[in-house]
């Protein structure tokens, strides 16, 4: 029996000719990632090791992004702890305020992940790098500590679900609509313990930013990872951003899949996930009038330059509705600078939005846009769980940057079509 793309990468990293779904393996890691919330717990765990040094100071990335610039004293202590650890161990890829960005946008941009890599990160959205043809998955802090110390991690080889993407998305339809559609179809545990393998000629019509968004939310379907084949778009991105050698793996023709879904991208509509689960999806034409208080455009899911350009294309024509807060967060310093140079930030500010320094902030209810009781937010982030962005009675509607920007204009959940766009 052949292997899936994920299985081939894991077999190579485990030094095995072949692996099968369900097999327990120990794989060599290309990179271990942590952030300002998960790293302090991992650093504390490191103290318990007999061997306390890191396996490779160049293969660890520590990104201060969740509660920075420090939102309070306790957060400042966490960052201080990580900063000291990075300094003591000579960690090359420590990204503090001034250089940081939201980790999953930052690592590809810095060229730290390429095709064929095996990456673990103490953050559930580590699955983002599947867009580059890498195996990457989220773990907890203890796994991160073990990875930092040994350069290895244990995995159960996942079985797979294949998504064959065909056709070309309509204008204003982006990677976010694709992944929300999929989660709506299979549910929040539809890919539990499994790899999500995206294939098909429609992928050529998806930009790297679209693919990052799709892989990013594989975890929202319970997936272990979400992986794309490597094509010209991937290779061009890696050559632009990285000097690392990449390796292309392809699924065998006789690889086994537990299920195969075919999705014609040209038929997809703007999709919105209603509270309080990402699987509660509705297409925009099904949404009745729902007034909102806030819009957030940003996060590891949708803080890319294309997301900001999309929002700006709407907000340059129409202002933000009075009384609504529209918060825009470029995912990295580089994207922020690019948005300034392209005039996007000027557009946002003139439209009545605020633009923040990169941070995960409101996505997880940290700071920079917390919701009061009964408030509603349309957000380009990835989770709409109870209390995720603030009070337990507040509501989050997940959507694309196009829907978020259009909703900021109308003050209710809207697609660009409602503005005649």
């Amino acid at each position: 029996m052949g292997m899936t793309m994920t299985q081939k990468i894991l077999a190579a990293a485990a030094g095995l000719a072949e692996v099968k779904a369900g097999q327990l393996i120990e794989a060599d890691l290309s990179l271990v990632l942590g952030n300002d919330i998960t790293s302090p717990v991992a650093i504390h765990e490191m103290d318990k090791f007999n061997k306390q040094s890191v396996f490779d100071k160049e293969k660890i990335a520590l990104v201060m992004d969740h509660f920075v610039p420090n939102k309070d004293i306790k957060s400042a202590e966490h960052c201080k702890c990580v900063r000291q650890f990075a300094c003591q161990n000579g960690i090359t890829n420590f990204f503090d305020v001034g250089e940081m960005g939201i980790e999953h946008a930052l690592l590809p941009e810095k060229g730290l992940v390429v095709a064929g890599d095996v990456v673990i990160g103490a953050d559930s959205h580590t699955c983002t790098y599947g867009a580059l043809g890498a195996f990457s998955t989220g773990v907890g802090s203890t796994d991160m500590a073990a990875g930092m110390a040994t350069g290895k991690a244990w995995f159960k080889v996942p079985s797979a679900i294949k998504f064959v993407l065909t056709g070309k998305p309509q204008p204003w339809i982006s990677g976010k609509d694709v992944i929300l559609h999929i989660i709506g179809m299979i549910g929040v545990d539809g890919a539990l313990y499994k790899s999500m393998e995206f294939t098909g000629d429609g992928i050529a019509n998806l930009s790297m930013d679209d693919r990052f968004t799709i892989s990013n939310m594989a975890i929202e379907a319970g997936g272990k990872n979400g992986i794309f084949p490597v094509d010209e778009t991937t290779i061009a991105y890696m050559k632009e951003h990285s000097t690392k050698e990449f390796k292309i793996y392809e699924a065998d023709e006789d690889a086994e899949y537990e299920a195969v879904y075919t999705i014609d991208l040209s038929t997809l509509k703007s999709t919105v996930s209603f509270p309080h689960l990402p699987e509660n999806t509705h297409t925009i034409d099904e949404v009745e009038e729902i007034a909102i208080d806030q819009v957030v455009i940003g996060s590891c899911t949708n803080g890319h330059i294309e997301d900001l350009r999309c929002a700006a294309a709407i907000l340059e024509k129409f202002p933000v509705k009075k009384g609504l807060r529209c918060i825009i967060i470029p995912a990295t310093q580089k994207i922020y600078l690019q948005a300034i140079e392209e005039g996007l930030v000027q557009t946002f500010i003139k439209a009545g939005a605020v633009v923040s320094t990169p941070t995960c902030g409101p996505c997880l209810g940290g700071y920079m846009g917390i919701l009061a009781a009964n408030e509603r937010c349309v957000s380009t982030t990835n989770r709409n769980f109870v209390g995720r962005m603030g009070d337990v009675t507040s509501e989050i509607y997940l959507a694309s940057p196009a829907v978020a920007a259009a909703s900021a204009v109308t003050g209710k959940i809207s697609g660009p079509a409602e503005l005649g766009l």
Binding site: P40, K48, D123, T126, T142, A149, G222, G365, V386
Partner: protein, 161 residues
Amino acid sequence: MQAKGIVFKYGDNVDTDVIIPARYLNSSDPAELAKHCMEDIDKEFVNRVQKGDIIVADKNFGCGSSREHAPLAIKAAGVSCVIAETFARIFYRNAINIGLPIIECPEASKGIEAGDEVEIDFDSGIIYNRTKGTSFQGQAFPPFMQKIIAAEGLINYINNK
């Protein structure tokens, strides 16, 4: 190894944001985290939970964020075991890695109600509902994971290797 306690019962998709909301993640002290465990889904949990008590839930327990603070908070709150129909994969790994016993058992999650007194024998995987006089066979861990659990967590397991 055995556990015995009173059951707190929850439904599908209990996510790590409700187990320990991110507004408390500026601390990584388990005792501090335990004070807010389950706060957004069950405000009374921290007032009522006794050492040894058991959480029973339906599908996909622990979905969402990878925060290890979630199993740490549950363990520090005194919970001796979590039984669920299924667990989200990162929570599953984290629980094993920090030594919080968890058992997948769809029949038990259906056959146990809030307030029931339940006993678990981890060696045999048998879950006994004392209140109702029924028992269930939980899924045993693969030998590799049993070794991690026996070593009381991943770090000790690696140290012992």
